[in-house]
Amino acid sequence: MKLFLWGALAMASTVAGLYFWRFWKESRDRLFVFFSAAFCVLALNWLGLAVTDEPETRHWVYALRLVAFVLIIVGIVDKNRRGRAG
């Protein structure tokens, strides 16, 4: 069951990443690049959980999740700074 859920999550994240990529192509708003990259990294996170089985090193897969959230935070901060400047 967990493999199914992780696979579904990987696919959902990939689709979300593609949507944000499309939004970037249409608007050229940098925020969407950050969101697209973040969701692609989240997809890799769930893919990594599904294919790895070593409990001792599993936290490195979760580090990918942290990278994704940091990308989102950086994107939002960047957008807010651009909004204040321009």
Partner: protein, 85 residues
């Protein structure tokens, strides 16, 4: 090291949820609304991850937390498909 990663994931995801909620409260953009709901769910997923792997390692919450994340992502996909222009 692992505990630090799980805690940072929880903190970062809660931060994302709060920032998106504030953005939605300011702009009322529909995409931000769906994104906020998604990241609230992902924040809950990461809080459950920390509880599962650090606080109560004897219990296995992987199905529950993965289901919460899947509901969160489905919510975002719904918003992307139906409410993004």
């Amino acid at each position: 090291m692992a505990e630090a990663v799980y805690m940072l994931c929880a903190v970062a995801s809660v931060t994302c949820a709060v920032m998106l909620l504030r953005g939605w409260a300011t702009s009322k953009a529909r995409l931000l609304f769906w994104g906020s709901l998604c990241f609230i769910g992902l924040a809950l997923n990461n809080l459950l991850l920390f509880i599962d792997l650090v606080m109560v390692p004897s219990m296995d919450l992987v199905i529950i937390r993965s289901a919460v994340a899947l509901v969160a992502m489905t919510t975002l996909l719904y918003g992307l498909v139906w409410d993004s222009k």
